[in-house]
């Protein structure tokens, strides 16, 4: 029975993806392009050469972090829409640490910096959490407002106090994350993301604390009646979710961008939410869907160069995946539809006396 449910859970996003590509193909045809040609450029862009493959991993890394952040939060029934702000604050903390703590060996500085990013992200994430628990405030609006505050704060920093040179951006960090496994050159950040995904998977499904966290997200009343510390778990989910996003920002800084500038972290937050939803709130799903999104993003630029079609087509396909995946999940959960499925498998839904 569980396999049947799992099968449905995997099929829904896959069908959503396929349908979205179909719609995208129709869209491309409508504006006079050739879908097959367009998609071939897309895949070439993502996988065509060693450096392309490497770039895809690079693009996937931050998405995995924000996706994991959203997954973790939503598993506890909490909507963390502030991943972008937490991502940025993580990077801000890292930049500050990097510029202040000079004179220590690079690996140590890196570790402290990433830990700092986690703490900053966690703190930025706990604000909506505390407001939710003490005043019952809707965490979505709070976290989104904090997003804007964080982005503006970062803007202030790289235009002002931490600015280097005439262009508004900070100086670059010296401690950097390397690329591994030449010639594919997987960024160390990607490895860190995978490790984090594994840790979260382990926590959610192999520890009692993770189990309890999941019950809070599924049935808060029952969790309370069974003696689980509901408020504590909710707070933990906010903090950890924020910390994950903060690590993401830190890793992005040390691994890819090396400096703060306009557009740092843009869009990763909401994409992360989408990735979490499509990936059925499973860390493994999150990694896969994040990678898919990265494929789309990387391939889009190549497609644009090759065929003149704007990258927005890919944005739409990406958005359609979300629309169809969520609608699909809701659809298969309708009581009438569940009845259809059980009838199809031929066995009786309720066991007899």
């Amino acid at each position: 029975m569980n396999t049947k449910n799992n099968l449905i859970k995997i099929l829904v996003p896959i069908i959503a993806i396929v349908v979205s590509f179909l719609v995208g193909a129709i869209l491309i045809a409508c504006i006079g392009g050739n879908p097959i040609e367009a998609f071939s450029y897309l895949f070439r862009g993502a996988f065509g050469s060693a450096s392309n493959i490497s770039d895809t991993f690079v693009k996937a890394t931050p998405l995995i972090f924000t996706g994991l952040a959203a997954t973790f939060a939503y598993r506890c029934g909490v909507f963390n829409l502030g991943a972008e702000g937490q991502f940025v604050m993580g990077a801000v903390a890292s930049i500050w640490i990097s510029t202040t703590l000079t004179g220590i060996p690079a690996p140590l500085q890196l570790v402290i910096s990433i830990v700092g990013g986690a703490i900053a992200g966690g703190l930025w994430g706990v604000i909506p959490g505390i407001l939710k628990i003490t005043r019952g405030l809707n965490e979505m609006i709070v976290s989104i407002m904090l997003n804007y505050v964080a982005i503006l704060f970062m803007g202030y920093l790289y235009s002002g106090p931490l600015r280097e040179g005439s262009v508004p951006q900070t100086g670059s960090v010296t401690a950097r994350l390397a690329r591994l496994f030449s010639p594919i050159r997987i960024p160390e950040g990607f490895i860190i993301a995978l490790v984090l995904a594994a840790v979260i998977y382990y926590y959610l499904f192999y520890t009692s604390s993770g189990f309890k966290l999941r019950t809070v997200g599924l049935n808060r009343t029952a969790a309370e009646y069974n003696g689980f510390p509901v408020k504590k778990l909710i707070l933990i989910s906010f903090i950890v979710s924020g910390a994950i996003a903060g690590i993401g920002g830190s890793v992005e800084l040390h691994g890819t961008q090396f400096r703060l500038m306009s557009g740092f972290g843009e869009g990763y937050g909401f994409d992360g939410v989408a990735i979490a939803l499509i990936g059925q709130l499973n860390p493994v799903g999150t990694v896969l869907v994040a990678y898919l999104f990265a494929v789309l993003r990387k391939g889009a630029t190549t497609m644009q160069v090759g065929t003149g079609l704007p990258t927005s087509v890919i944005d739409i396909i990406q958005a359609l995946v979300i629309v169809f995946a969520v609608a699909g999940s809701a659809f298969v959960n309708l009581p009438k539809i569940r009845q259809v499925f059980t009838n199809l498998t031929g066995k009786s839904k309720k066991e007899g006396k």
């Binding site: 979505m140 909401f270 927005s312 990406q318 609608a327």
Partner: protein, 313 residues
Amino acid sequence: MEAIMNVNFIQELLLSMVRMATPILIVAIAELYSERAGLVNIGLDGMMAFGALAGFLTCYITNNPYLGILAGAICGISVNMVYAFCTITLGAEQIVYGMAINIFAPALASFIYKIYFGINSTLISNTLMSAAPIPFLGKIPVLGNVLFNHTPIVYLAYLLVPFTYVFFNKTKAGLNFKAVGEFPKAAESLGINVIRTKYLASVICGGLAGIGGAYLTTSYIGTYSDGVVSGRGFIALSAVIFGRWMPGGVLLAALLFGFTDALQLRMQVLNSGTPYQLLAMIPYLCTLFVLAFFGIKKAGPKANGRPFFKEER
């Protein structure tokens, strides 16, 4: 500091406040209709973006900003119908689906823009809606300029407030509408068609949100860019909460945010010493503090956010 006490400055400030509050007001009222019917729609940002694009494009092609507003409304409604179907009929979680709209609609808007105008980075300009000062009233010193010297959409926005008030408090339809958001089961038992009311609320919400977005590109500034909405949809959401789901309260909230926005812009000009980002934070921080101190859990239509399924016979 004398600059601040200058009458001209105050007049400019208040004028700005009214203009900047407008999109927030329109969209907040849109959300008000939606939430009064029990549908929490956080996809406002997305609908605004799409409405902004529709308005801009239509205005550019037809040179008629009013058609742009109309186009904005139609596009807003279309986008919201997707939300409506998935939440009302399929029972998808409203908040999740609102997020989906927030991702989908701007992507669509961006796509259409790039298809039409190409992928360059220069901003295309538009004919702006011209101000339509109300005769006689517009001539009153100071106040006349502030209140009666605006584009018609601004007037529309402010007229929406008493209209909505009358609708909800003085008409039968408005009363039945509110019941749907408070206690759908009771409403259904009294013969009110809950599903139809929810769809109607979605139409109104989409239309007004689309107009709010279109206002940005046809009346407010004459260009379209991907970040044109910059979170106003969410500020509108908090205006609904802050305004306690009442049109008058929403008006005050919108004016407050408009004021902080106008103020921070003016202060940027005055204190060129302070980095503009810190000032730009003010509206968002303001929203936060207002929510933290005045947001109360229990307020709002009682059945808000919950899907409604008819009893099976």
